[in-house]
Amino acid sequence: MARVTAGLATSHIPAIGAAIDLAKTDMDYWRPVFAGYDWTKEWIAQSPPDVVVLVYNDHASHFSMELIPTFAIGCAERFAICDEGYGPRPVPEVVGHPDLAWHIAASAILDEFDMTIVNELTVDHGLTVPLSLVFGQPAAWPVAVIPLAVNVVQYPPPTSNRCFELGRAIRRAIQSFPEDLNVQVWGTGGMSHQLQGPRAGLINEPWDADFLDRLVADPDSLRTMPHIEYLREAGSEGIELVMWLIMRGALGESVELLHRFYHVPASNTALGHVVLEPTKENP
């Protein structure tokens, strides 16, 4: 039986991808950012997952205004890296896990989540930067990845509660998959940042810290967080944090915090990163 062995959350700032790709990780500006992932790299090398369900958002890369799915799950064998305007990032293509992806898709639909199944999908920095942060620059990614793209660009995105519930549905789906697989669920995006308008550059460290506290110990209290609070407190792009709730919902009632990291600034953004493990008592 497949198991959700851990959850990981991380910002997916595009400038981090550029810093890696252009070998700038040792610069004073970037060194502390990457240092925050040293623990994670060691940890994941010791118990590498077979599959990562990677919750991210597409940034007007694969999806345009033509079609906007709320939840799209990538069921293909592989996912090419898309050209966001600077040329595609020089990273390995992403290999999927169609067996588990289709299983999750079908299970979630029968569980009354209105998934969009995607068999052709290119992936942008939202998905590749987390992989780079955790796995560095391998010739091939050491895990299969199931992309789960969430709309947070076109208002309205899904509610906090809906994201949490989708996470729970993903947990049920994984736990009913017959093959013995070590599966991690990652939530990406955030933390506080605003990329637009005169208020750009907003960072709200106390709010982010509270979000992280509650994500670990009291996630139910985040279910009722209205969109406007993210927008007001964490900036217009801070709304990406709803995706962390999908990860958290997938871990069950209680978790142990293995690692927590927070750094300002990374480009325009407050970078947050946590690694969580379901406690043994979880069903």
Binding site: M65, C82, S192, Q194, G197
Partner: protein, 128 residues
């Protein structure tokens, strides 16, 4: 749906259905810049390229003058607009700073000092 509550957030334009409908051709033009061939054609003659799109003149002028606040005002979304500054070879920090009334250096200094504080820019109505 009434999304007017979002107008209470200072200096922020939420990408509501109304904005996305207004910005449709502007944003779809931006998407076209994901192809290297289109980026070349745009760079060769921006006006000519823009005229292929059913954009308003105000949208075209905003693009030509790289006035990102004006692009937002006319329905642009920052992730779409990113295709323009990527074509220009600018980073997010460089492009984003232009919307704040600061120089890039001032903006970067603000970020290094912890970013813009939310105090006073949470709500126009409540003045907090």
């Amino acid at each position: 749906m009434d999304f007017s509550a979002f107008d209470d957030i200072p200096g922020t334009r939420v990408f509501t259905p109304e904005r996305s409908r207004r910005g449709y051709p502007l944003n779809q033009f931006c998407m076209s810049l994901m192809s290297p061939a289109n980026r070349e054609r745009f760079k060769a003659n921006e006006r000519l390229y823009l005229d292929e799109w059913p954009m308003t003149e105000a949208q075209k002028q905003a693009v030509l003058s790289r006035d990102y606040n004006a692009m937002l005002e006319h329905g642009g979304n920052i992730y779409f607009l990113a295709k323009i500054f990527a074509t220009d070879g600018l980073s997010f920090v460089q492009a984003v700073s232009t919307m704040t009334g600061m120089t890039v250096e001032e903006y970067q200094d603000m970020m290094l000092a912890g970013g813009r504080s939310p105090v006073g820019v949470r709500s126009i109505r409540e003045g907090r």
